[in-house]
Symmetry: C2
Subunit: 210 residues, 2 copies
């Protein structure tokens, strides 16, 4: 099943080019398991969901390490009927076809609880879009139930769900939302925003990121 992401990294700094270039070095350990293509608006990662999410986490944590306010946005997609499959996407985690929605919620909660912290607090929000199904809201509500029960839930919002916590379990939660819901090999997209070092979270009166 074809899977991957288009992501963009936004350091709110005059030094944004150097911060982006330094962060993209974090892709190096994954390059044999990812197809990477950059254009002026975003970078494409094609690979299995676990490798794509690990790479996104490491890029973002590296960019944010210097304390600059940074954001990462990503469009994740799997199973799009319009995309030819690619062997580089094989071998990652998939949704077991025989697990009920309630079981998958619990599996996802457990996976986030087992995720290794990396020492970088982040705020995030995501939307999950299971496509090609008439009862798409059942899977969305299941995913929201999982996120609410996870250790990184920060609150509901219109059109998305807020997460907050260490980047390790936050990106693990995104991976669970991306792989554990929707049809087993069906078309599903995730719209993700991650933010770190925002002045808004230090001084509530100052706007940031929006």
């Amino acid at each position: 099943m074809f899977s991957g992401a288009q992501f963009s990294l936004y350091p709110m700094s005059d030094d944004f080019v150097d911060i982006i270039l330094g962060a993209l070095d974090s892709l190096d350990p994954y390059r044999d398991r990812l197809r990477v293509e950059t254009d002026p608006v975003s970078t494409l990662l094609v690979g299995s969901p676990d490798i794509v999410l690990a790479a996104l986490r490491d890029v973002f944590v590296t960019a944010a390490a210097g304390g600059v306010h940074c954001a990462l946005t990503a469009t994740l997609s799997r199973g799009c009927p319009g995309e030819a499959d690619d062997p580089i996407c094989a071998g990652g985690p998939g949704r077991p076809p025989d697990r009920s929605l309630a079981d998958r919620v619990q599996d996802a909660v457990d996976a986030v609880a087992a995720a290794t912290p990396v020492g970088r607090p982040v705020d995030a929000q995501l939307s999950v879009y299971p496509l090609g199904a008439e009862q798409h809201m059942d899977e969305i509500y299941g995913c929201i139930d999982f996120l609410k029960r996870s250790a990184v839930f920060a609150g509901p919002k219109h059109f998305c769900t807020r997460l907050s916590g260490d980047a390790g379990p936050v990106f693990a939660a995104v991976q669970e939302a991306f792989t554990r819901f929707g049809a087993p090999d069906g078309h599903l997209a995730v719209d993700l925003t991650v933010s770190a070092n925002s002045p808004s979270t230090r001084r509530p009166a100052a706007p940031s990121g929006a």
Copy 2:
């Protein structure tokens, strides 16, 4: 039908707070027709699609006017079954229920051709997610056909379609994708990224935005 967006504005500058605050003043002419709520990660706009898109365009054009590399990302949504309707969303453009897909493609092309330029070149990419329909790819392919025939088409990408041109017709194309495809009052989401003043588009060797 409930409609709106969560958007974030990212000026790649040490002065990002002032640039964001200045750009948010562009919402003022629309505030009687929008509900606006800001948190540390994004700003919510609830209103009819034409007002939401005009507000996003004006915020982004204002932020980019000083020449700083800026990006805007937005999650647009309409018709979500989980959202109670709001009178502030009424009165905007909708998809006529009696127009064929081919007619809607032509309507959208014509609307972009008639859009007023605002004098600010931008690059953009978007994904359209018609939810709750088994034949969702028909509407996606129709929307891609419209974008390819529009004056602002810049090329295909995995998971999204690239646009480039004046911000006026580019945001008009996003509005058409958001309102003209999917079921007439159905659930549809758009994942949008807009970029301006990127060093990548001036010097091809320099990365930017990703």
